[in-house]
């Protein structure tokens, strides 16, 4: 099926691994990503905060182009920030005619126009989880990622509360968990999976950013993760590139590989590894990937009995 | 005006197909008795009578007039008034006169649409100038006139008072004979006539009474058009999903159609005490549609049921095939409607 594709600034630069792996896994799933011609920056997280109208106009231009080109009403953005901006602006234009008027002037200057709601903005995760579905993904799995303990990390933009018709629970998202499960990986459930990675705090107040990053890494590690899977170039960059800084700053010894969930999908689909952009990450994923076994690990007992004199844990819903 | 003292019989054919006359002749050798008993004074279908003959009769001259056909145009109405004036007993004979019948189905559309169909859109018509019949056409010899084609088809009792109704499309010969006997009895031996306004030559309850098919509890999942299904010879047709109006139709015909695997069309009209045969039929049929239950989500439920009722093509035409003129609403709302 045909989808408009909005790579945004990072996909072909620092997030090349995300870009290539995305293309590598979407093709076999029958997703035909058609890049929007002449797209521009989404304004990232800052611009909207600084200068609304131009920021909205900037984003609207991409929507207008998407609506204008390649016939698909679906627009996929793999970058969380791009996704949220596109979706948000489409929503605001719809809600606020006054705003639309102003934006229309800008678009009109460029000979463009956009009818709010005519483009359905999706995050890549949404496309895979909702449109394609777990079954279809499962069918493509050739080399299950048995025994690999992966902590899915959603960041704060995709599951943001109040995000109009969000495709997942903002407080406790599980869509990536389920995808990783069908890939055969052991999914780590940890409380911070939807918390902030620091975003551009690394530039503004490094102290703050490092603490946020540390908490994430530690929480994932404490819960036994071999690696963290992300769906956002910003998150990947922060957790990966700043790990060193965190270690020196806090005297910790994190060696937590941060990969894109699409890379793991590629592995499981048995896509040639060189097409998946492994090796581009700073903390190498290789050692972790070695842990993958051919046999599925023994399922842990459905119900953890307390030690001697201990009290039984409650049965978990899906088990009990 | 023969003075032979025989009761005088008239039969007139307004907007109808003529099946009623044939049905009268279908009483076989009894027709001779009719001729014996009655003095036929107006019966354009079988003998040459002119309106002026009729006009020349004194009022109430005719003892019994069998009027068949609906009131489609001004001529039909004029004749109705004239015959009413000349007849002691005026009988709405057959479904058209009684409740509109097939002609009244055109009440489901408009006069305009009907004309376009007949004089323009009809494939067998070549009428490039799009000429419609004219009320008055002037030629050298003078003015030619045509009757006014009404917007709404009416039953006989909607233009004149009617003494009796004989339902059926056409009425069954044995019923006709029964009716005539009653009249003869009344006229010759002074036997009592049925109360005015009575429906004669038919039963009082619904057709199922006469239908020999086996009836069970009705749980119908969908409906079939006759060509879609081979009905079981013994089971109730309705239960098999064939629309059969027998449940809301007066008995008296002997359940002819169901007996040969065709759902009752409803030509004998509703049994006693029913205002609107179509609505009643609709209600009953929808009631026994066994789709959807209270456990379902509201949308799902509505969808399922809509699907099921959609298996009945042209409900209005089906349920009101004969009773349109007597239905509660009588005709389609102006302009809109099935066309």
């Amino acid at each position: 099926m045909k989808y408009g594709y909005y790579p945004g600034c990072s996909m072909e630069k620092n997030a090349r691994a995300y870009h290539t792996s995305t293309l590598a896994v979407t093709k076999p799933l029958g997703i035909d990503l058609v890049e929007i011609d002449d797209w521009n920056c989404c304004g990232a997280t800052e611009y909207i905060a600084i200068n609304k109208i131009p920021a909205y106009a900037l984003v609207s231009r991409n929507l207008a182009l998407a609506a204008d080109q390649n016939g698909s009403t679906n627009l996929v953005a793999p970058c969380s920030a791009c996704y949220l901006n596109l979706k948000k602006v489409d929503h605001y234009l719809h809600e606020d005619p006054g705003l639309k008027e102003k934006v229309d002037i800008a678009l009109d200057a460029g000979g463009l126009k956009y009818v709010p709601g005519s483009i359905n903005v999706q995050h890549l995760l949404e496309t895979l989880y909702i449109d394609i579905g777990l079954e279809a993904i499962k069918d493509k799995v050739k080399k299950p990622l048995y025994s690999l303990r992966v902590a899915p990390y959603y960041g704060c933009l995709v599951p943001r509360p109040g995000n109009m018709d969000s495709f997942d629970d903002p407080e406790h998202p599980t869509s990536m968990d389920k995808i990783l499960e069908v890939l055969g990986a052991t999914v780590i459930d940890y409380p911070l999976k939807a918390q902030c990675c620091g975003g551009h705090m690394t530039q503004i107040s490094e102290e703050t950013a490092l603490e946020l990053i540390r908490r994430l890494l530690k929480n994932a590690e404490d819960n036994g993760a071999d690696m963290i899977a992300t769906l956002c170039p910003m998150c990947q960059l922060n957790l990966d590139a700043y790990q060193d800084a965190v270690n020196t700053h806090f005297g910790t010894k994190f060696k937590m590989p941060i990969v894109y969930f699409t890379q793991l999908m590629g592995l499981a689909f048995d896509v040639p590894i060189n097409e998946l952009g492994f090796g581009k990450e700073i903390v190498s994923a290789k050692p972790a990937l070695k842990k993958i076994t051919d046999e599925a690990p023994k399922p842990k007992r459905t119900r953890e009995r307390g030690k001697k004199a201990g009290l039984p844990m409650p049965i978990m819903a899906e088990e009990g | 005006m023969t003075g032979n003292g025989k009761p005088k019989l008239a039969m007139y054919w307004a907007s109808s197909c003529g099946g009623c006359e044939i049905s009268v002749l279908n009483i076989h050798e009894n027709i001779l008795t009719v001729d014996e008993v009655f003095d036929i004074v107006f019966f354009p279908c079988i003998a040459d009578f002119k309106i002026k003959d009729l006009e020349s009769y004194p009022d109430g001259h005719i003892d019994i007039c069998l009027f068949n056909g609906a009131i489609r145009n001004s001529e039909n109405e004029e004749m109705a008034h004239l015959l009413r004036q000349k007849s002691k007993v005026l009988v709405a004979f057959g479904s058209c006169a009684y409740e509109g019948c097939i002609p009244a189905l055109s009440n489901l559309t408009t006069k305009e649409a009907t004309f376009n169909k007949v004089y323009i859109d009809n494939p067998s018509i070549d009428n490039p100038e799009g000429i419609f019949p004219q009320l008055v056409t002037t030629v050298e010899e003078g003015d030619l006139t045509l009757p006014n084609f009404y917007h709404t088809v009416k039953s006989l009792d909607q233009v004149v008072d009617v003494d009796y109704y004989v339902p059926g499309c056409p009425p069954e010969p044995h019923q006709i004979w029964a009716v005539l006997q009653v009249v003869v009895g009344a006229l010759t031996e002074g036997l009592p006539l049925p109360p005015a306004g009575a429906i004669i030559g038919a039963g009082t309850t619904a057709l199922c009474e006469e239908c020999s098919r086996e009836k069970k509890e009705k749980t119908i999942k969908r409906f079939y058009r006759p060509y879609e299904i081979q009905p079981d010879p013994d089971q109730c047709l309705l239960e098999q999903g064939i629309v059969c109006l027998g449940i809301a139709t007066r008995d008296g015909c002997g359940a002819l159609c169901p007996s040969v695997g065709i759902g009752c069309r409803g030509c004998y009209g509703p049994p006693d005490g029913i205002k609107d045969q179509g609505a009643k039929m609709l209600s009953a049929i929808a009631s026994v549609l066994d789709v959807g239950d209270e456990s379902m989500e509201e949308d799902e439920l509505e969808e399922l049921i809509q699907e099921a009722v959609d298996t009945i093509a042209d409900p209005a035409g089906t349920f009101y095939r004969f009773s349109m003129a007597h239905s509660i609403l009588k005709r389609v709302k102006n302009g809109k409607g099935a066309a």
């Binding site: 409380p191 530690k218 009290l311 | 233009v159 199922c208 069970k216 009705k218 449940i247 809301a248 209600s283």
Partner: protein, 677 residues
């Protein structure tokens, strides 16, 4: 309609009475105008207005007119028939007319209260009055149908509500069938340690009542049983109960408990023990269980799983064990039914970010109840999941699953109070331990409740006003290491607050039983949006339902604490007792009947009746309505294609008459002959 004006009923003498209802009606509707206008109707003999028609003088007005003016039909235009139809029917009857010669026009609820537009309200009132007048002339005399009440009663649910109701009735000398799904009666109350606010021991006040139930000859106790089918109607329900096989012959069992003692197989006790403790596979939920017979749990029993063991059979001194025992169907008749099926606790797993089932030291409220209970798995010691360590700090989270758009929007009423109780118990068991109660609003309505709250304030509980966002083990600084961190916005300080504790208790709210909807269908009565059973009237008939002869008590109607539940149990019992002492009830004669001589036997109506009140006479080939079963909905009347089913008091003639009456101003009636073609 013209044809109706011809009808002889036209000679009826109707009295019309338009009520002012103080200003409730007269304030919006020109009642004088309505009354005057009504006189124009040929059927109307007198037309008056009066301040309060429902007052005794108002009623006398009607009675006198009937006597003096020889009225034959009465129309009162006032409030909803659900309010005063009964009142005016009685007045009509007192004056010697058939009570069903009365009709009501609802010009208050549907009229004056529903609009401010005086003109429109008056027009509407005229329409409604006219409709009632046209209708009432076609009314036929009806007699209420007497139904004799079977003095036996079915009570479903052996919790405190059911127990109370059962004892009330039994002690009044009436026989009761008490059906309980579990192996013992007692319900949730038996799981609880102490009761707020008085803190008396739940078991101490409950078990004596349970024993009374067990010993009362008027109570047939059917535990480990479920109602399979319910047929019939008030006064005479036919009930079938499935008595599940407990593999113990009750006649032989002496409840000595040896089988339980010797049984080698131990499993986690999910029901009574809230999953915190263990039980044998042949067991009594708790020592004071009533009845005392154990239940054998086939799913986990070694013998049933492997075919070996049979130890209980060997050990039983009275050979009461019977592995072959089959489920048994019991059938009996009752006159009334009380549903006291109780509630389910909200399952905290539905809020994953609260960590229940993931973080070992997050406990459900029921788990904690069992824990602090002296007879529970820890003999009343408050310990962490490891079974030994005492927590130094405990967080108690209110409103789990309640007042929450994602789950239950309503307030569960009891959580605040039992959370306070928990706080108190922690203080009591472990002086020095810190207790944090996270609440949205503190709701303590009830005798001694607010005082209890004040007491807790003095005991040093930390009260934090804020809904908890998440509960995790993700420490953000060394001080949080190894702790459970409860994150919430303290709305009084306007601060995000992270509170590290050793133990968290989730105070789950009350939910309708998971199968409440099936039950309501089984008993042919309504459930509300949340699944709680619908009462007949929220204020004036809280334990009655829309179905005559079926009553509800306790939390199956909505969240309730023990005092309210007991009160409702008593109330339901007295409702039933009233009916039993009346002996018979008079039922609305709104019933369908088939004019058999005109029925063609098409059988369309046969599948219409939800109560199977329509039978087909194969002999005569006609359908027939069994009056006793008919509830008068009229669905068959609407379905009958030849209109030979009459729906008493809602006949076609009456409805057509009312219809044409209320459309008095828009008829534009033209006889067929005038209609231009």
């Amino acid at each position: 309609m013209t044809d109706m004006k011809k009808s002889p009923e036209n000679q009826e003498k109707v009295g019309v009475y338009v009520c002012h209802c103080g200003t409730n009606i007269a304030g919006t509707i020109d009642v004088e105008d309505v009354a005057k206008w009504a006189e124009n109707n040929p059927n109307v003999e007198v037309s008056r207005t009066y301040e309060f028609m429902c007052s005794s003088t108002g009623q006398e007005l009607i009675e006198n007119d009937i006597k003096e003016k020889g009225l034959t039909r009465i129309v009162v235009a006032s409030c909803s028939p659900h309010m005063h139809e009964k009142t005016f029917r009685e007045a009509t009857e007192r004056a010697g007319l058939n009570p069903f010669f009365f009709e009501m026009a609802n010009i208050r609820e549907h009229g004056s209260w529903a609009t401010n537009d005086k003109n429109a309200a008056t027009i509407k009132a005229k329409a409604l009055v006219n409709g009632a007048v046209e209708r009432v002339v076609h009314h036929t005399p009806l007699e209420k149908i007497p139904v004799s009440i079977n003095p036996n009663t079915l009570i479903v649910g052996g919790g405190i509500a059911g127990i109370t109701a059962a004892l009330e009735l039994a002690e009044a000398g009436h026989h009761v069938y008490l059906v309980e799904r579990e192996g013992t009666i007692g319900g949730h109350m038996a799981q609880i340690d102490k009761t707020f606010p008085t803190l008396d021991c739940s078991a101490c006040i409950l078990t004596p009542k349970m024993v009374d139930v067990g010993q009362n000859d008027n109570i047939s106790l059917l535990t480990y049983s479920e109602v399979e089918s319910v047929e019939g109607y008030i006064g005479n329900f036919n009930i079938t109960v499935k008595k599940k096989a407990r593999c113990v012959i009750e006649e032989l069992c002496t409840s000595c408990g040896i089988c339980e003692e010797k049984c080698p197989q131990k499993v986690i006790d999910e029901d009574y023990g809230a999953g915190l403790g263990y039980r044998k596979t042949i067991y009594r939920a708790f020592p004071q269980a009533v009845p005392g017979y154990p239940v054998l749990d086939k799913e986990n029993c070694t013998y049933f799983q492997t075919g070996k063991c049979k130890i209980c059979e060997k050990e039983c001194p009275t050979n009461a064990i019977d592995y072959e025992q089959q489920d048994e169907m019991i059938n009996f008749n009752v006159g009334n039914i009380i549903l006291a099926t109780g509630y389910d606790l909200f399952d905290a797993r539905e809020i994953p970010q609260y960590g229940y089932g993931k973080l070992s030291n997050v406990f459900s409220s029921l788990e904690f109840e069992r824990m602090v209970n002296a007879s529970g798995p820890t003999e009343g010691h408050i310990v962490l999941r490891d079974g030994v360590t005492h927590p130094e700090s405990v967080a108690i989270v209110h409103c789990v699953g309640s007042r929450d758009q994602n789950h239950n929007e309503y307030c569960s009423k009891v959580c605040c109070m039992y959370s306070l109780k928990f706080a108190h118990l922690v203080h009591e068991h472990m002086p020095g331990a810190e207790v944090y109660n996270f609440y949205i609003d503190m709701r303590t309505p009830g005798k001694g409740y607010e005082e209890f709250y004040n007491r807790l304030l003095k005991e040093g509980t930390h009260f934090i006003r804020g809904r908890v966002a998440e509960i995790s083990n993700a420490a953000s600084h060394p001080g949080e290491e190894g702790k459970i961190i409860v994150q919430a916005e303290n709305t009084l300080l306007g601060l995000q607050q992270r509170t590290p504790v050793d133990m968290v208790i989730l105070s789950s709210g009350i939910q309708a039983r998971h199968d409440a909807e099936d039950v309501s269908k089984l008993f042919k009565m309504g459930c509300d949006y949340d699944g709680f059973f619908n009462e007949r009237h929220p204020k004036l008939a809280p334990v009655s339902t829309m179905t005559d002869g079926i009553f509800i008590a306790g939390a199956c109607q909505g969240p309730k604490d023990i005092p309210d539940t007991v009160a409702q149990g008593g109330a339901a019992a007295s409702q039933v007792a009233k009916l039993i002492s009346q002996g018979t009830v008079m039922m609305e004669p709104v019933r369908a009947s088939v004019r058999e001589d005109e029925c063609s036997g098409c059988r369309v109506c046969n599948t219409m009746c939800p109560y199977n009140a329509i039978e087909f006479d194969e002999e005569k080939e006609v359908s027939r309505v069994i009056t006793a079963l008919c509830q008068g909905c009229g669905t068959c009347v609407a379905a009958c294609p030849s209109s030979v089913i009459d729906g008493a008091h809602f006949t076609n003639t009456q409805i057509y008459a009312e219809l044409n009456g209320i459309l008095w101003d828009v008829q534009g009636e033209v006889s067929a002959k005038q209609e231009v073609i």
